[in-house]
Amino acid sequence: MNRINKKLQEDKKLLSIYFTAGYPSLTDTVSIIEDLEKNGVDMIEIGLPFSDPLADGPTIQASSTKALKNGMTTEVLFDQLKDIRKTVSIPLIIMGYFNPMLQYGVEAFCKKCQEIGIDGLIIPDLPVDVYKEDYQAIFEKYGLINVFLITPQTSVERINFIDSVSNGFIYMVSSASVTGSSSGFGDVQTSYFKRIANMNLKNPQVIGFGISDHETFTQATEYAKGAIIGSAFIKHITENGASKTEDFVKSILN
């Protein structure tokens, strides 16, 4: 069974952390992953940096620009991760934009992910319709789970479609925004969280965007299986250094 599915069966709320590979320094990737696992994080999204990250706010944009300047490429990332399964056993997901994958070759990319032990992918600009028609068979051949986003504006019909194509979890974007915005959740978000929870989808939901501290993590996981933190973690290591994951994770989980 895919590590993501296994993790989702555990009887706990999941904390997932996103970080940009190759940031702050090119060689920080592996140690950040190992530290996150050691400190109790349940799942990790490894960001493959892109020059034009359309769905990201300033924090992730800046970390991506820096990572690219540091020399991060698809090849380099795969090379850094080649022995990752010797030390890390939690689910690992690569999150990145479609063009770098397209240039690497979608099948070659998936094959490499399987070899390394990557469990899933999140590709914000690969729409579910295109995925289903052109790429689903390839992803499945290499045992990869593809994760799709939904937002407060996504129609019920489309949520059901996304649920039917998904085989891991649904990434629930907390509010209409790019990453790293928002401060706290109000009634609008809570009623959206409730509405989705009540749909009884086949796939569990994990909430992301705008989760930055213990409070927002707790609010989000009241209605969902887990939550993803990205910008807030990147800000933390920007200010405190790449080795300072422990205090961040503690502050979220208390």
Binding site: L54, Q103, D125, P127, L149, R158, A176, V178
Partner: protein, 402 residues
């Protein structure tokens, strides 16, 4: 197009899935899906409404000043021993073809109940055209512009502000057109309900390339009857236009795409030279990839990171081309040429001296092909003069030390 007849020609228009051959589509984050889908479901319907057509045509006539003249450039024709006709988009209100599209899109936005308009701009021409129609309709207008472009296009920034628009500097990436487009898309993600994004060229996710092309197609619609009036036939031997994202070109070609006796020439900016590392000649330097929501030819690293183009002309300084043009290039329907900064600047000055017209530097690229390529004496060559050179005066002054 040897051996081509109207009957056996390929389809160069968009198909029902939003593709031109293998190019196009809508590679957008889910956050944009409701907006883009709303547009996709409505744009053809709205454009076909008699009310919409009437208002669009009326504004093009009374406000933009259409039809724009088709002018036989006698002295230029003598110089190159062929028959050159200039489609005078430079005479439109705000000085370029861009306004054809913004008029269409602002009417579309109103029909869809939108109250807030966003746009990206490079040189500021599209920004000015958007700010203009927002003033006309009383809608809020936010224009994203790269910090570097803001500095080098001060007069257009002032125009936009006078017209009531808010100009927001794009501070990310290379701080030029590509990044302004990213910022506009992010704004749309953050404002998914009340906002319409007026894209300024035949780029972006489906249905944008097709919608922009249809609004710009008035250019070739007019060329047809104007040529008929002037020389007794609708079809020239060649249609020529410069390509940034490709909106003036799409409009100039549109009604000729399926006329096999009309040859199409697309002119890209070579910058300092195609091999110089400072160029925007996407058809030569680009590879298939995804940029700003569509699959097309774009300039990128081997690794799929989008690279920075260069051209003296801010309007051609874009790392991709619209998907229709990628298809015209790949299928050989259009002949692609690239013109350097120097060639364009000289062709621009030449037009001033020979015809008394100061062209936009973008348009000067299209004019420069006559030095590069010979035409027969009785060939009829229609060139899109996409804009006037007022916005480029500083560039001309510095380049020619005037």
């Amino acid at each position: 197009m040897e051996g081509m007849t109207k009957e056996n020609m390929m389809n160069y228009n968009v198909n029902e899935k939003g593709y031109y051959g293998e190019f196009g589509g809508a590679f957008i984050p889910e956050m944009l899906y409701p907006n883009v889908e709303e547009l996709r479901q409505n744009y053809l319907k709205v454009m076909a409404e008699p009310d919409f057509k009437k208002e669009f045509d009326q504004l093009l006539k009374d406000y933009v000043g259409r039809p724009s003249p088709l002018y036989f450039a006698k002295r230029l024709s003598e110089k190159y021993n062929t028959k050159i006709y200039l489609k005078r988009e430079d005479l439109n209100h705000t000085g370029a073809h861009k306004i054809n599209n913004t008029i269409g899109q602002i009417l579309m936005a109103k029909r869809l109940g939108k109250t807030r308009i966003i746009a990206e701009t490079g040189a500021g021409q599209h920004g000015v055209a958007t700010a203009t129609v927002c003033a006309l309709m009383g809608l809020e207008c936010i224009v994203y512009m790269g910090e570097i472009d803001i500095a080098r296009q001060a007069p257009n920034v002032a125009r936009m502000k006078m017209l009531g628009a808010t100009v927001v500097p794009a501070l990310s990436g290379s701080r030029t057109l590509k990044d302004a487009t990213n910022e506009a898309i992010r704004d749309w993600i953050n404002n998914p309900v009340n906002t319409h994004y007026i894209i300024g060229s035949a780029i972006g996710p489906h249905p944008y390339p097709d919608m922009v092309t249809r609004f710009q197609s008035v250019i070739s619609e007019e060329i047809k009857w104007q040529l008929k009036e002037q020389i007794g036939r609708e079809n020239p031997d060649y249609v020529v236009a410069c390509i940034g994202g490709g909106s003036n070109a799409a409009g100039t070609y549109y009604h000729y795409l399926h006329e096999p006796d009309v040859k199409i020439i697309a002119v890209e900016a070579a910058g300092l030279g195609v091999d110089s590392g400072e160029s925007a000649a996407t058809s030569v330097l680009g590879h298939e990839g995804v940029i700003h929501g569509c699959k097309t030819l774009l300039m990128q690293t081997k690794d799929g990171q989008i690279t920075e183009p260069y051209s003296i002309s801010a309007g051609l300084d874009y790392p991709g081309v619209g998907p229709m043009h990628a298809h015209l290039c790949k299928t050989g329907r259009a002949e692609f040429m690239s013109i350097t900064d120097d060639q364009a600047m000289n062709a621009g000055l030449d037009l001033c001296k020979l015809e008394g017209i100061i062209p936009a530097i973008e348009s000067s690229h299209a004019l420069a092909i006559f030095e590069e390529r010979t035409f027969k004496p009785d060939d009829v060559v229609v060139v899109s003069l996409s804009g006037r050179g007022d916005k480029d005066l500083q560039n001309y002054i510095e380049y020619f030390k005037i």
